[in-house]
Symmetry: C2
Subunit: 111 residues, 2 copies
């Protein structure tokens, strides 16, 4: 598991963690790039406007322009990225863990 806090500890930091989620803050400057890393299913909340080149696990690239205060779903994926804009990137990722019930293979009871 290429955890982004291991591959890019200067850009990713854990700001909250419990049994259900881990929340990461990401910051970079123009020209900086990340090493390939994995994200589990996550919700991404942008806190700055930014322009990035995303490089998928298959090597395909895609350029994105995303405004501040945008909320997007991120399916689990491996990728790397490069800040190709002129602004800092500032993003929060809410990473989802399996629920405690699912981890233990238990029924959560009546629903």
């Amino acid at each position: 598991m290429a955890d982004p806090t291991i591959t890019d500890p200067d850009k990713y930091r854990v700001i909250l963690e419990n049994e259900r989620v881990r929340v990461l803050e990401y910051r970079d400057a123009p020209g900086q790039r990340t090493s390939p890393h994995e994200h589990p299913d996550s919700v991404m909340i942008t806190l700055s406007d930014f322009r990035r080149r995303l490089i998928g696990a298959d090597g395909q690239t895609r350029d994105v322009d995303i405004p501040a205060v945008e909320v997007r779903w991120l399916d689990a994926q491996t990728h790397s990225g490069e800040n190709i804009g002129e602004t800092q990137t500032h993003v929060v990722f809410v990473e989802l863990k399996q629920s405690a019930a699912a981890d233990h293979g238990e029924s959560p009871g009546p629903s």
Copy 2:
């Protein structure tokens, strides 16, 4: 279930929903208050500084001052709130659902 999008539709809106999460945006103005409503386990991300009076299900009140870009865990709870400050409140809630595996009482497989 006192869903905040039902009790306070002028302040809460759904900005993303799938099997694992529902994401709400909340906005209000000084002096406004919400009706009692329920939150499931959630991650709260503040997008403005604000000052609020929170009223719990037991009637206890608690005043909070929270700065912008604060990320906090919210255990499932019923409450209402009142903007007692001089600024708008702007918050995103990432509400967690049971995982699909937990909903069906199935094991998610080896972990």
